[in-house]
Point group: D2
Chain length 264, copies 4
């Protein structure tokens, strides 16, 4: 019995000899020169051009995630560039490969947590009442609540008030952001620690606010970090550090195996 074929279909776009259509628009005349790179990201996620408020908010969310200086992701990219300087794209890709559960997971986790606690946005909800069982459930399972606290930015992540201010200015200070705030308050109360919303918590809440599927939130981090990693490769090409890091690590990591005279 032959296999039944399924449909192969894209709705993103198509081209012919004289035109390119993307998301139902004439790319050349209606998109190119009218939108910025972040807006293109918004279009990729929604299929439509953002409103001015959406454009400002979405660009701020992705700009938040572009660059954090020396990160494991940047180091992986720089190590890769050291071996394959002819493949800049492979160095960026190596850096992106590490954007998994540890670093971008909290953004995704925050969006998921909020969506599960409040499947549809409800501006009239009692956020404190919704927050309590969420915090209780995480505490019972001894799981860290995503999007709260920061190992380094203390007492607060400086990006959070800025993002929330932009949310207010642009009409995105809605029920998911408020629920995230309520969860932060409740988590602080229950633990006795200061656990303010961090930047990934804010971006995750804003992803929920904008109606993005939580599974794709990680995509904002991926888009953004690709931009930042190109900058690290450029710096590595001008002021390299990867080789020196390698040699220092090798020296330190193998010292216990080397004969004593070598270390003298």
């Amino acid at each position: 019995m032959p296999r039944k074929q399924k449909e192969i279909r894209t709705d993103i776009g198509w081209s012919d000899a004289s035109s390119i259509t993307l998301f139902g628009k004439d790319f050349t005349n209606e998109i190119l020169g009218h939108v910025n790179l972040g807006d293109m990201g918004f279009m990729e996620l929604t299929g439509r051009v953002p409103t001015p408020a959406e454009s400002r908010m979405f660009n701020a969310m992705t700009v938040t995630l572009v660059e954090h200086g020396i990160t494991p992701s940047a180091l992986a990219a720089r190590m890769t560039y050291l071996g394959a300087p002819e493949s800049l794209q492979a160095a960026v890709a190596a850096g992106l490969n590490g954007l998994g559960t540890v670093f971008v997971g909290s953004m995704e986790g925050a969006a998921k947590m909020l969506r599960e606690a409040m499947p549809e946005p409800d501006a009239q909800a009692d956020f404190a009442a919704l927050a309590a069982p969420v915090v209780e459930s995480f505490r019972q399972q001894k799981r860290i609540i995503p999007g709260l606290g920061h190992p380094f930015h203390k007492p607060i992540d400086p990006r959070t008030p800025r993002l929330l201010g932009l949310a207010k200015e642009n009409g995105f200070y809605g029920p998911y952001v408020q629920l995230m705030e309520a969860i932060a308050v409740e988590a602080g109360r229950a633990s006795g620690k200061v656990l303010p919303m961090n930047a990934t918590g804010a971006v995750g809440a804003l992803c929920a606010e904008m109606g993005f599927d939580w599974k794709i939130c990680r995509g904002l981090g991926v888009m953004a970090r690709a931009v930042g990693l190109v900058g690290h490769i450029l710096e590595e090409s001008r002021r390299p550090m990867a080789q020196e890091i390698w040699h220092r690590v090798e020296d330190v990591a193998t010292a216990h195996m080397r004969p004593p005279q070598e270390n003298e």
Copy 2:
């Protein structure tokens, strides 16, 4: 003799408990909410905030490269997502890995060709005179001139006049763009074929115009395509095609090895 240590240094940025400094600016107050994602890309390449004209031009250049519908890069990303849907970042990375000499090489090649023909921008140059030996050299070596012609967009790539129009509006219709135009004219004359500047040729020339090192031009394509690939993964998650493509290819590609009765 102990190894002499070299410096390990970044100038991109640093953080402390209450602030994040990027490219010498206070990220939270001077960058976040003030720039868009493309502007962050410009900052990664230059270390400074773009002027309004630079912002419009750079965003247009990257927007040009975000999305081309079904491409080998998008298919690699979708195939990867089929096996590892928990690792969106790895699917995007797989798609980026293919942005090598074949697809983004012409952008890089155009920028390199222009820089080599005119190491410093010279608005008074005789562009036709500069173009002639470039075209002659490529023809003698039987190499394709990067950034001219298009396998599909004929007679002209619709994005090119739009990009050149934006260049004129924003003050980037300078000597490298004009040299690229002169090379296109000369290449057409020498070959007897219509060989207009394509979109990657225009972006490559604009990279030269903006003073970017040709080695980093590929980075614009990498930044941009990461944005587009997230959209492909989102569509794949909603309307999958990778599995069906796989099965169809497997059927076709192995048919010659299968016993006859299987194909009846």
Copy 3:
């Protein structure tokens, strides 16, 4: 307060001007020429040279996973090579990126399931009694039991009896393999379907048998598939299919958006 430094240490190996030490052995004289590539894989996982029986078993386990013809992983590698033929390594890496939960997850899942049901190997265990609650638990959670059944190889995966035969010959037909068999029997009884152990179930059980941490089982698939993907890239370089697949998919996937006359 300065950060307290942690140790940076490797025990894998070190070199000096005249020697290379790996896993405590003189690589040049004690390893090179004495072991095969699979044995090196065994050494990477255990830190020691395998016994002859371990060598035969481990090589068979990895050989099982090298090559499955046209797979999504092979297609991702070929698509990547189309764009970046100068970066063979990046094409293989793109193919590896898809070895996630869907394709190699069942191997890992089987090893984990067995380890959790029987934390220490017990040759005297009542395997049927251990199997019953495992199957019950998966059925209650409506989760698929990893390592059983096959979408295509029916009624049995031909590799399984071969792997089990090799396990018997080499002394690895132990409690974990027997527990996996008991789980297959119990799953078949409970579901009323034929659910024999598949090849990834067999390899997963053998990973448990050999004492490997279930978290590293996926590594056998990664090692093996890297070998196979090089073969696909070689074939792609000689008899390309990626470009033709791309064009066919693009035609089919965008047909619904094109004006009617284009399809006539």
Copy 4:
């Protein structure tokens, strides 16, 4: 005019419900349990089972390339694993992405150089006469001759005499290896430095000896390193170093930007 379709075809293998055919053989009964992992690599490159001599030689060549302790490639993999421990495959892929011109290029370059100097193997050739213009040409172009000298293993790479010994034992001490030796002698004479064949030079010469296309030589390194990188990920999961490296590098690399009191 509709596009003319090209063939989509693989000769690697196919499966049906009860059998798997690879390279024309019944995988289950003729390959599995009969060959080792390195032999599968040989089959991927040649389509046939190696002879015992070929098996020993090819396994030795790949074993040479598996593991070099702390390398940039291993560090990229470890940095990636730190961020995405759920995606072991992506960590290995990140490590492979760096196997470009700098580290495996010399193997490929040696094979290419030998093939170009002696397109067909000729056991009666005057190797010194063939070597002279090769060395002269590299010197004139101020290019480094691939496969000679070593930054660290001095005066000789200990792996080279072992590989050449294995080549003699197994019948692969042929014209390409001898030409490589002649090139080393000539390069030493012309430069006045000691420039013995290194391990990648030996493997590259043996690739030529075995008849492999030089473009695929890099594949031996990719196969082999995938095996080694799994070992580094296992060690990283047990004795992590990536996080500590990250913090140390960040401290050092950003110290010049921090206010003085922070460093006190």
